[in-house]
């Protein structure tokens, strides 16, 4: 698990190169205005093809990616991540969506996005999320945490279970607190652990969400018309 602190570790000197992918020009310009000045928007794209081209050309630290995009084969954000697979470890994807649909959110996470936030969050929050993702961490909104708890179940893992198939008791606690609206800092305080440990747990959950082929997860997703 990559927990080394990247640009996000030092608030004074942090900066990030970002590409915004969204088919609504109004939203792109609004987001650009909202982002912290230390974040450099190096490119914008409105379709799947444009996005893949811009990302390949600019190699940004973070891509702010809308889940629903026109163009390509109709796969939206998922397709952009798949098309940029070669850059994946260096370029992080943060999914932005107005969608509440579990299949949209989980699909883009499973494609490789490092987090998911709703489009209604404030500029400060999204700036924070960008740095967090740039630093290798995962960003979970309360809703994504809720989806995870729904998908994995709220019972802690047995020893016999496959490690990927269930959340550990600690991970469950972290997910619950995030779903309750706690920030990472508040989670850390509540559980008497460091923020870094919280980030580790969240990243572990993200990995499980991306890699688990767990029966329940498949079933859960299928019920919501995914996969």
């Amino acid at each position: 698990m990559n927990t080394t602190q990247g640009p996000g570790s030092d608030p004074a000197a942090r900066s990030a190169r970002v590409v915004i992918v969204d088919d609504h020009a109004i939203f792109r310009s609004g987001l650009k205005a909202d982002l912290d000045p230390s974040i450099q928007v190096v490119g914008e794209a409105a379709t799947v093809e444009q996005a893949i081209a811009v990302i390949a050309q600019q190699r940004p630290d973070v891509v702010l990616l809308d889940v629903h995009l026109p163009g390509g084969l109709g796969g939206g954000g998922r397709e952009v991540i798949a098309g940029s697979a070669a850059l994946l470890p260096a370029t992080k994807f943060l999914a932005l969506s107005v969608s509440d649909a579990a299949e949209d959110v989980v699909a883009v996470i499973r494609a490789g996005a490092r987090g998911y936030v709703t489009k209604t969050i404030s500029g400060a929050e999204i700036t924070d999320a960008v740095y967090r993702v740039a630093g290798g961490d995962a960003v979970f909104s309360p809703r994504l945490a809720g989806f995870v708890l729904d998908a994995f179940g709220t019972a802690p893992a047995d020893i016999a279970d496959d490690e990927l198939d269930r959340l550990s008791a600690r991970e469950l606690e972290v997910m619950r607190l995030i779903a309750r609206g706690y920030s990472y800092k508040e989670v850390a305080k509540e559980l008497f652990i460091s923020i870094k440990t919280v980030e580790t747990h969240v990243s572990a959950v993200l990995r499980k969400l991306q890699l688990s082929s767990r029966h329940e997860l498949t079933k859960w997703a299928a019920e919501r018309r995914l996969l």
Binding site: D100, R176, G181
Partner: protein, 476 residues
């Protein structure tokens, strides 16, 4: 032209013995159906006139759903039918009966399969529905008369007329003492009868292609086709064998089968194309219905809200509130899980959150994990949650986070805000909000309530156990 516009249109009804002719006629004339039936039987005894009349009406008069479909096929705008029939579930508008009257009252309110057939399923025809429905539809707008007649009217009329003239001619000839070769006429009649049965089958299949008929009806159609075919073949065989030897007959039969095979070979692609066109048309119409529903919904909700927002643009608070309410409504419509039962605890919590949001204007974000049916004790949980949300929205002043985790009766609700917080010890005794409405209420119903508050925010934690101990606890 047998109808006066104010009358109920003449259609064959679904409450039928044979083809719904009598009941349709009764509804049309405003006469009890029994009278019509008796009259029909009496007329049948009078030289078969009733039978001929019945058959004529059977062929000429469309069925109720056929007629309804014709009317429904020309909506003035895609939105209009869906808007005006808001209470009718999705795909039904195509099949709403023209005789309107009590169908909404009789039919079950929700129809999960949503298929565009309803008429045959609705249990009409108890007693004398004719009079009541005639009265009910008297207030309906006058329908243009075109839909009552079919495109092939003249062809069929001429055919039937010719047949009747032939029969009359034969009868007269017999009366005049001319020897009529019945040996030829009977097989010919069989051929004619079989052909007409088969033609009716074509009519039915065309109908079945446009409306999703039940499988039983299709089986009936097949039986009819087989009967018609058998009659025709038998008639032809008798006719042909009467004029020559069996050997010749078999040869002729072989030849005709070969010719038929050739014809089928030629016509098959055409028939397949016809079938595909029909399917495409049907799919297109389903899409069109869906589109109309979406358009109607957007018109009813989003456009109205946008208009309101434009008028209230000066008040930021109102704009945010309207936008939130509309967002919530649209989300509910777009992302609602159709497989989930309605009215469970998560729905109730979401409804309460929506209410608080509307009341105070601050966003209330609800995240639900799991769900459970609402019991009596859960009502207290819901009310306590509402109180906590109100407090959080009022004093927190920002977004309120609500998290519900429920399974099998057990439920936990967390309500968190980021306001300045308060000290529970210093809440005045007379302030009942927290002490009574939240903590007291939960305790009385066997639940738990805890409040943690700091300068960074307040969180109310409500718990409700799975055990059904709430019923044994004291009631407020």
């Amino acid at each position: 032209m047998t109808t006066v516009p104010a009358r109920l249109p003449l259609v064959r009804r679904s409450d039928r013995f044979i083809a719904g002719v009598c009941s349709g006629l009764a509804a049309h004339l405003g006469v009890p159906v029994v009278h019509v039936r008796v009259a029909m039987v009496l007329a049948s005894l009078a030289g078969g006139a009733g039978v001929v009349f019945y058959a004529w009406l059977w062929i000429m008069v469309p069925t109720a759903d056929e007629s309804a479909r014709r009317q429904a096929r020309r909506p003035s705008s895609p939105i209009a039918p869906a808007v005006s029939r808001e209470t009718v579930p999705a795909a039904v508008p195509w099949a709403a009966a023209p005789a309107g009257g009590g169908i909404d009252g009789i039919a079950p309110p929700s129809r999960p399969d949503g298929g565009p057939r309803t008429d045959n399923a609705s249990p009409r025809g108890l007693g004398y529905p004719a009079l009541g429905e005639a009265a009910a539809s008297a207030s309906e707008p006058v329908r243009p008369p075109w839909f009552r007649f079919r495109e092939m009217r003249y062809g069929k009329e001429i055919l039937l007329g010719t047949g009747l003239l032939l029969v009359a001619g034969i009868l007269i000839a017999q009366l005049l003492g001319v020897d009529v070769p019945l040996g030829t006429l009977i097989p010919a009649a069989a051929v004619l009868g079989g052909a007409s049965i088969a033609w009716m089958q074509l009519d039915e299949t065309r109908r079945a292609g446009l409306v999703d008929k039940t499988k039983a009806d299709q089986a009936g159609g097949w039986a009819r086709l087989a009967a018609g075919l058998a009659l025709v073949v038998a008639g032809v065989l008798v006719m042909v064998s009467g004029s020559g030897s069996w050997e010749q007959t078999w040869l002729a039969l072989l030849a005709s089968v070969a010719v038929l095979g050739g014809v089928v070979l030629v016509l098959l692609p055409w028939a397949l194309k016809f079938w595909r066109d029909l399917e495409a048309e049907r799919a297109g119409r389903i899409r069109e219905t869906e589109r109309a529903e979406i358009a109607a919904h957007l018109h009813d909700s989003v456009l109205q809200t946008l208009a309101l927002i434009q008028r209230r643009a000066a008040s930021e608070h109102d704009v945010v509130r309207l936008a939130r309410a509309q967002e919530r409504e649209l989300r509910g419509w777009l992302f609602a899980d159709p497989g989930k039962d309605a009215g469970h605890l998560s729905d109730r919590i979401k409804a309460v959150a929506a209410e608080v949001e509307d009341l105070l204007g601050n966003a209330v974000e609800v995240v639900c994990v799991g769900d459970t049916a609402v019991t009596e004790g859960h009502e207290a949980l819901i009310q306590a949650s509402r109180e906590a949300m109100l407090n959080a929205s009022r004093h927190g002043g920002g977004t309120v986070s609500v998290y519900l985790e429920a399974s099998g009766g057990r439920a936990e609700v967390f309500i968190k805000d980021r306001g300045p917080g308060f000290d529970l010890q210093h809440v005045p005794e007379d302030r009942l909000g927290v002490r009574e409405s939240i903590i007291g209420r939960m305790n009385r119903h066997g639940g738990t309530a805890a409040i943690t508050s700091s300068s960074e925010g307040t969180e109310v934690r409500l718990g409700f156990p799975a055990a059904p101990q709430d019923s044994t606890e004291g009631k407020p």
